[in-house]
C-alpha cells in the first residue's frame, strides 16, 4: 500500500574499490571531526559566565518596600491562595505602636516563606498581589544548595534590602550571612 509518493527506492549497488578500501571514508570522517576541533564551543562555563535572561524571565521572588522603605506586604494571603503549587505560607501579625516606619499598614507578615523547590515560577502570586508587594525578578534565580531546608526562603532572603548594594552582582540571591561576609570582605 502506498501512502505517499515520497518513497525512495534504494538500489544496493556493489561497492566501488574506493568504498571497499574504506580509507577515503576514514579521511572524510577525520576531516569532519578536525573541523569540529576548531569550531566555537557550545559550552557556557556557568558560574563565571551567565546566559542573558529574557526581559520577561520569572526568577527569584522579592518582597518590595515602598518609597519610604516600609514593607508593602499586608499578609492578606491572596498570593498563597493563588499559588498552584502551594509553595507560600505566611503568619500575619498586628503592627505595634512605633513600627509605622517598618510596615506600611496595620497588618503585616510576621513570617513569609516560599519553598523554592515547590514553586513553579508561574507568577500568579505576582498577579494576585493587591499591594504590589511580591514580584518575580527577571535577573535572579534560586542557586543550588546542599540541603532541602535551605530552599525555604524566609523574609531574611525575600524582603528587598534597604540599600541596593546588598544585592549580589552575579545574579544569585545571597543569604544574609553571605551578604554580611561579602560586605566585610569588600570593606
Amino acid at each position: 500500500m502506498q501512502l505517499t509518493n515520497r518513497a525512495k527506492v534504494l538500489e544496493k549497488k556493489p561497492m566501488t574499490l574506493a568504498e571497499r578500501a574504506y580509507l577515503p571514508a576514514i579521511f572524510q570522517g577525520l576531516s569532519i571531526t578536525m573541523r569540529h576541533f576548531f569550531m566555537k564551543k557550545a559550552t557556557v562555563r556557568y558560574p563565571e559566565e551567565v546566559r542573558p535572561f529574557s526581559n520577561t524571565f520569572r526568577g527569584l521572588h522579592v518582597l518590595k518596600r515602598d518609597e519610604q522603605g516600609r514593607e508593602r506586604c499586608t499578609a492578606c494571603g491572596l498570593c498563597a491562595v493563588a499559588c498552584p503549587a502551594e509553595a507560600i505560607t505566611m503568619v500575619a501579625g498586628e503592627r505595634k505602636k512605633g513600627e509605622e516606619g517598618l510596615y506600611r499598614e496595620e497588618k503585616y507578615a510576621i513570617s513569609y516563606e516560599i519553598n523554592m523547590l515547590r514553586c513553579i515560577f508561574c507568577g500568579l502570586c505576582e498577579e494576585a498581589c493587591p499591594k504590589a508587594a511580591v514580584y518575580l525578578q527577571p535577573d535572579k534565580m534560586a542557586p543550588p544548595r546542599y540541603e532541602r531546608d535551605e530552599f525555604i526562603y524566609g523574609k531574611d532572603r525575600l524582603v528587598e534590602p534597604v540599600s541596593p548594594d546588598e544585592r549580589s552582582v552575579r545574579g544569585i540571591q545571597l543569604t544574609s550571612d553571605q551578604a554580611t561576609t561579602l560586605r566585610a570582605r569588600i570593606g
Partner: protein, 359 residues
C-alpha cells in the same frame, strides 16, 4: 670507538624514561578527555587547576580511594597479578627505544637510550606480546562471563594482528638489515637526505603497521576486548580502584610505546630535517666545538622525537573519537583476509624493489 655507557648512566636513563612514560600516560587521560570534548564542540575538564591541568591528580585520588573489590569465586592471586603484568610489560618495552643520539661529555659518549641491544625490535615485540597475558589472566581470574569473553577477544585479536604487524616489520628489516632500533634510526639520517625516512620507502607497510598498532593497543575502532555496549567493561568488568587504574594506565603507556616505535621505524626517530647543516652552522659561523654542537643537536632531536610521539598520540585519540567500533567478524576478516595478504604483498614488492635497486 664508541665506549660502553656506564651502568650508572643507564640506570639514570631508564629511570627518566620510566618517569616520563608514567607522566605522559597520566596526561594522556587528560588529553583524551579534552580532545574528545573539542571534537564534540565541548570544552572538557577545566575545573581542577588552570585549564583543568590538575585533573589527573584528582582522578588518581579518586582511583586510590575507591573500594578494593574482589568478586566471589575469583582467584585472588591471579586477579591481582593481571593488572600488574599489564603495567609491567607496558613499562618494560620502552627500555630499548632510542630517545636521542649520542651525548658527549668530555670524551665520554653516552646514549640517550635505556639499553642498546642488537635485537631491539624483537624485544619490543616480545614484551608487547606478553602484555596480552595481563588482560587474559585478569579476565579469566574475575570469574565473570563478560570478563572472560573480553579476555578471549583480546587474545585472539592480538594474535591475529601481531602476524600482519610482524610482516609489515619484515619489509622494514629487509631495507635496514638490522633489528637494532638505533641502527634503523641512524640509517634514516644520511646527510642531505632527510626526506628519505622509511615512510617514503614503506608507505604501505606503515599503513599496515598503523592499523595493527591500533589493534594491539586495544584502541577504537578495535577496542572489542572492553566494548561497553556488549560486554559491560570487557576484561576489566570486575575491576575497581587502582587495579582498574593500572589497566587504563597500561593502555596509555602502550600507546606511548607504540607511537615511539612508529616514529623510530618510519619517521626517522630522533632525526630532524637539516640537522647536519644546523650543526655545521654552529661550528663554522658561531665557533662552537663540534662536541657541544653535536650535544645540542642530540637534545633537539630528542625534542623532535617527542613531538612525533605526541603527534601520533593525538592521532590515536583523533581516530578514537571519529570511528565507531568494528564488529567482531569484521575485525577478524580485516586482519586475516586483508591485512595479512597485503603485508605479504608488501614484502614481495619490497624485495622486488631492492632487487631492482630502487631502494
Amino acid at each position: 670507538m664508541i665506549e660502553l655507557p656506564a651502568l650508572g648512566w643507564q640506570s639514570i636513563v631508564i629511570f627518566v624514561v620510566f618517569a616520563l612514560s608514567l607522566l605522559i600516560a597520566t596526561y594522556c587521560t587528560y588529553a583524551e578527555r579534552v580532545i574528545a570534548a573539542f571534537l564534540q564542540d565541548r570544552v572538557g575538564p577545566d575545573r581542577a587547576g588552570p585549564y583543568g591541568l590538575a585533573q589527573p591528580l584528582a582522578d588518581a585520588v579518586k582511583m586510590f580511594t575507591k573500594e578494593e573489590f574482589f568478586p566471589g569465586g575469583a582467584n585472588k592471586a591471579l586477579f591481582v597479578f593481571g593488572p600488574c603484568l599489564a603495567m609491567i610489560t607496558a613499562l618494560m618495552s620502552s627500555a630499548v627505544i632510542p630517545f636521542g643520539n649520542i651525548m658527549n661529555f668530555g670524551n665520554n659518549l653516552f646514549f640517550l637510550q635505556g639499553i642498546e641491544v642488537n635485537i631491539g625490535m624483537l624485544w619490543v615485540f616480545g614484551v608487547v606480546s606478553l602484555g596480552v597475558y595481563g588482560v587474559m589472566i585478569g579476565g579469566w581470574a574475575s570469574n565473570n562471563k563478560f570478563s572472560l569473553l573480553g579476555a578471549i577477544r583480546a587474545a585472539s585479536q592480538n594474535i591475529s594482528y601481531e602476524l600482519a604487524m610482524g610482516m609489515a616489520l619484515i619489509a622494514v628489516l629487509m631495507i635496514s638489515g638490522t633489528l637494532s632500533l638505533r641502527e634503523i634510526t641512524l640509517q634514516q639520517s644520511a646527510p642531505g637526505e632527510w626526506y628519505m625516512w622509511n615512510i617514503v620507502k614503506q608507505p604501505l607497510g606503515f599503513l599496515i603497521f598503523l592499523v595493527c598498532a591500533f589493534a594491539e593497543t586495544n584502541r577504537t575502532p578495535f577496542d572489542l576486548p572492553e566494548c561497553e555496549t556488549e560486554l559491560v567493561g570487557g576484561y576489566h568488568t570486575e575491576y575497581s580502584s587502582m587495579k582498574l587504574g593500572l589497566y587504563l594506565f597500561s593502555e596509555y603507556v602502550n600507546i606511548f610505546v607504540v607511537s615511539a616505535v612508529m616514529s623510530v621505524l618510519y619517521f626517522g626517530g630522533f632525526n630532524f630535517p637539516f640537522q647536519y647543516e644546523l650543526r655545521d652552522w654552529f661550528v663554522s659561523s658561531q665557533g662552537w666545538e663540534l662536541a657541544s654542537a653535536q650535544n645540542l643537536i642530540t637534545l633537539l632531536g630528542t625534542v623532535g622525537l617527542f613531538l612525533k610521539i605526541f603527534a601520533f598520540i593525538f592521532f590515536f585519540m583523533w581516530i578514537r573519537w571519529t570511528l565507531p567500533r568494528f564488529r567482531y567478524d569484521q575485525l577478524m576478516r580485516l586482519g586475516w583476509t586483508i591485512l595479512i595478504p597485503l603485508a605479504v604483498f608488501n614484502i614481495v614488492l619490497t624485495g622486488g624493489l631492492i632487487l631492482a635497486g630502487v631502494i
